[in-house]
Chain length 398, copies 2
């Protein structure tokens, strides 16, 4: 009999409890022995819930119970969650989490403790929700040098952008609709301003490039600057606007790389442009495998819980097999400023004054949208436009 | 120092040798000690190749060398490859292979030997080439009951269909073009008639539904029956034609499932319809995670070799961790006849005689193409058409 404890039983935690109950027979077959969820740490009143008999309010019970081999953290944030995850590892328990903020900010330290103690710290659910992503990346693609990785990793913003593109809504209407449907929080900052996507690209860059990327280092632009006009002009140019979290190896000496979050124009007809609503997708380029894409539900109760339960199963059945996930200390000299990264740009500007920098321009009510004829840095773009005001500019994914 | 042997050094084998040579430092870091490719079993003259000094012609050398812990099989077919893989396992060596025919036909027996001996038999490269697929399926999605799995798993036929759709070529011209580019063999039977896709869906169904699916049980229809007219009519109806390998759980008693290979109409704008050229993609529906899609290069030297080298690394670093991949004996009573599976159908027929079975009809030169108004079995479709000749019919993916 293997025993687990759950920290927090809200949306995702409730899903973990449900899967472990409903799929008990199935889990037993996978693990080779019965699996029990012994404790659920939850502060709110849970009487009436089917799992009410397992609810406790004192973490020390879990910490001191030698029967508990794995702790699943669904609290969120980096205060209590950090304390409990750290103490779980120090008490000799493997940890599974969906908490991207915790891993992005404290992953290096926590993975260090896990390694020292010979334990697992798994966080498949922290990026891409239910999409199998981190394990394929670190395992199936282990023969590859990863050249770049990018994708749609925030469902809320993708839903808003999809509404703007497909229904002609402007940003604030689409946001209200997303809030009404429960896709966006009352305070939408973490999603809309790109923080959630930024935390996820930190984790992906940590894993792909092997040195810690502190969140404060990653330039992050959300979608508040995307107007209905941009969505329309981009559509007429043959593109969709997508918020991409982006990391890539930079050619040249010193194994440098960069990471950032920003809206991009993505060519219609590509898979990434077809990712609509709250779905997520991540593209990986490896030097042997070429391009791969992973698509699925990036959030939500059951998808996220599905990834967490798979991680729980993994800690239970892997025994003493080697653990493969970790990365090194920050190496600031390796992190290149994304502003130096050339790309083609979409620009919206007042009609008729962009010189010869642009091609494929379309215009609407005196406002022009076009794509630069060649790749350039942001500084070069500004120079090309001179005194002409740039109303908005987004990179084109080529 | 870990030592491996390679059986066959053609297209994929050559890629394995190249990755192991070029990425030696990287592999050493992954495995924790140096990795050497000690022998390459190859019958043709290899003088002049960079790895010529390791070429041997006698398999018994590998079989009897206790230093060899893993054998990578790139011979193909089920005669010599079967013999050597079996003997490798019996000699206590883990095996990695990209040979889908071998796994589809002999997987059950070979996995049994591997399990008994406590060895790995890994075959990530056998389905979807370089796309991480089998490991995510058996590992990351292990908390899910898989409801269906289907996809584009043969690049040659997808290239031919893409040419027919996008360039208006007919089947024989597109096939000649594919042969000229090296995407199709001189004898294209295994690809064009769906055998390659059928072997892959056998492996996926084995893994997802847990009982062996013998290849001869899986109804297989290739793409020879898809005409340029079908491609055109489908396009006008808003669909692309794709050869899908398809397996699904069948509702009802006894955990039944079915598997088959056939051309399908796939709605334009979906990710699967956007998979063009030689690329592959597989869709999985799990009861917790919902829909996931995995996309990438399904064949080719480096992608396939990339997956094989990842498997080699895995055998070397997993130590005594539990092995998770296997399935049970065939249970014929669980395999449902796909003819009983209702779906909407695309039908091409002589103009004006389909009664009220069809909707959304379009016509071209007296020939009509339409989609049935409701899902039906093949028998029901035939009945609905009565005496009217069905010129071609393909399932619609809904």
């Amino acid at each position: 009999m293997k025993k687990a404890a759950l920290l927090g039983c809200g949306v995702v935690g409730g899903g973990v409890a449900a899967i472990m109950q409903d799929n008990a027979a199935f889990l037993e077959k996978s693990v080779g022995e019965p699996v029990e969820l012994k404790y659920i740490l939850e502060m709110r009143d849970c009487s009436g819930e089917p799992w009410a008999d397992r609810v406790i309010r004192d973490f020390a019970l879990i910490e001191s119970d030698p029967e508990i081999s794995v702790v699943a953290e669904c609290i969120g944030g980096v205060t209590v969650a950090y304390d409990f995850v750290r103490r779980s590892l120090l008490a000799g328990k493997s940890v599974v989490t969906c908490n991207k903020q915790l891993i992005a900010e404290k992953g290096l330290e926590l993975l260090g403790i896990a390694k020292e103690k010979g334990l697992f710290l798994l966080f498949e659910a922290s990026v891409g929700g239910g999409i199998p992503l981190l394990r394929p990346l670190t395992n199936c693609l282990s023969a590859n040098r990863i050249d770049d990785i990018y994708g749609i990793v925030n469902g809320t913003t993708n839903y808003i952008l999809t509404q703007m593109i497909e229904c002609g809504q402007d940003f604030s209407d689409a946001l209200r609709e997303a809030q009404r449907l429960g896709y966006a929080e009352a305070d939408p900052t973490a999603d809309v301003d790109g923080l959630d996507a930024m935390r996820k690209i930190c984790i992906l860059a940590d894993l792909c490039f092997g040195s810690n990327v502190p969140p404060e280092r990653v330039p992050t632009e959300g979608i508040r600057g995307v107007t209905g006009e941009d969505a329309l002009l981009a559509d007429r140019l043959g593109y969709a606007i997508k918020l991409l979290a982006y990391a890539r190896r930079v050619e040249g000496e010193g194994e440098r790389f960069t990471a950032f979050v920003a809206p991009h124009l993505v060519k219609k007809g590509t898979l990434l442009a077809s990712v609509s609503g709250v779905m997520n997708a991540v593209v990986v380029h490896g030097n042997a495998v070429g391009e791969c894409l992973f698509y699925g539900a990036g959030a939500g109760r059951m998808p996220t819980a599905s990834a967490m339960v798979a991680d729980i199963i993994d800690t239970m059945r892997r025994g003493d097999g080697r653990k493969f996930i970790d990365w090194g200390e920050e190496q600031p000299e390796r992190f290149a400023d994304p502003e130096s990264l050339p790309s083609r740009w979409y620009v919206r500007y007042q009609n008729g004054c962009a010189g010869d920098a642009m091609e494929n321009c379309v215009s609407e009510n005196g406002v022009c949208g076009g794509i630069t004829a060649r790749p350039m840095t942001l500084a070069e773009l500004r120079e090309a436009f001179g005194a002409t005001e740039i109303l908005s500019r987004f990179r084109v994914l080529d």
